[in-house]
Amino acid sequence: MRPPCDPSKFVAEAVKSIPPSGIRRFFDLVSGLEDIISLGVGEPDFITPWHIREMCIHSLEKGQTSYTSNYGLPELRDELTRTYYRRYGLDYNPASEILITTGVSEGLDLAIRAVVNPGDEVIVVQPSYVAYVPSVILAGGKPVIVSTHRDDDFSLTAEALKPAITSKTKAIVLNFPNNPTGAIMEQEGMEDIADLVVENDLFVISDEVYECLTYGGSHVPFSSLEGMRDRTVMLNGFSKAYAMTGLRLGFAMGAPDIIHSMMMIHQYSMLCAPITAQVGAIEALRNGKGEMERMVREYDRRRHFIVKGFNSIGLECCNPKGAFYAFPYIGNTGLSSSDFAERLLNEKKVVTIPGDVFGEAGEGFLRCAYAASLDDLRKAVERMGDFVDGLKQ
């Protein structure tokens, strides 16, 4: 008889070195509960606008189910070129400077693998989306954390960035508008970062998936700053702006060398992004502006509501200028983020995400997605108010 084996020994060291996600246990807690109100989602509560879904259905009816070019459908890349020229005067060649990816998640992995050599340091600005650090580790790089702070409205400052840069630093991952803080960067602050980038010859991976969800001002792509175009790969997608999360569609824009290198990995791993989603994305870019802006105005109103609500129940919350997250401070309750979130869930059935999930700099905060119905937001604020009052007694 052949001997039994322990399959865990086959797992690669790189995977084992990914820090465990503190959210796993929390996820299991939530799945057992009924009648919960969730501010824990990272996706719109809108359904993909009908004209986009209808176009996807039509393409399936026609039998459009084949592979596409590794780079993505040419019509979609053409449409992206036109869109970014119109919005920002950016000029990307659809044949060589745009890659369609399976969500920004894939684009992120590709961008990091395309530029990181083993041992390279990659600066990750936190609090931020949970995938950056593991992606750097999986590529053999070394993540170096730079924290943003409430006093700066969670914007990145050159002072904070500078000490983290060493001779081994290869790249920096930026994410503005930011998940989980809702922070944006003003152009002035971005220029300071750009100066440091040039001084230290760095590459920038800029995740701008919340680009369209910017309130009371317009988004400035990092690549639009002088001298930054060829040092930056912009990662973006359709999930947030057009409520297309499950359709998994993103894109990367950058210099031909970078995009081509990303495509080299993409062609052997993903081959191409799903064609149905690509067809939907073309429709979104051509005819989706009205619906997108309607959704953004709706988020804007909920943003006002929830920020005011949190402040009125004693949770200090600065005004997020982007994305659909509020990031109230709960440190003065004496509870840690995870204790607060767990007790809030068990006692009041409101799901929030502890801020430290997004990096140590998020400790003392909660991520609350306001991509939920106004009724749910009202109930959530009320229940959280009761919970905070209960803590004081």
């Binding site: 990272g42 949970v130 109103r301 799901v351 995400i353």
Partner: protein
Amino acid sequence: MDEMIRHILEILENDARASPEEIAALTGMSAQEVSQTIAKLEETGVIRHYKTIVDWDLVGENYVYAVIELKVTLERNQGYQAIAERIYKFPEVRSVRLLSGNYDISLTVRGKSMKEVAFFVAEKIATLDQVQSTSTHFVLKTYKEDGVILHEPESIKRLPVSF
């Protein structure tokens, strides 16, 4: 258009019962500012009316609706306005529209029975001097009214936690 006015109008178009306090919480304006703005919008006719969309079938009031197409002949010195006015003053008439195409005016008429609607059209509308012909289409089912889907399909479940 002022961004705040757009917010107020969108909120009210979606929920006419939203209070000034509620609107204030959604826009960052004060409740007083909201009230004043709404008063001005009402005064200037931007806000025409507040109404409720009722599904009368569910309480057993089986109204009959019909869409009536009219061809009309215009008289000297009288435009479409005159004939539209004559028609819209009947309370049975729920909407009146001037259209391009094969016929001129489209009405929606509500009554308690098909007979009542048919007689109303025959006696009150078809007999008007300017009306050349009428064509009555009874409504069998309304799926969507003024942007509101009357029988919403099931909602989609999202994961309660995602990043």
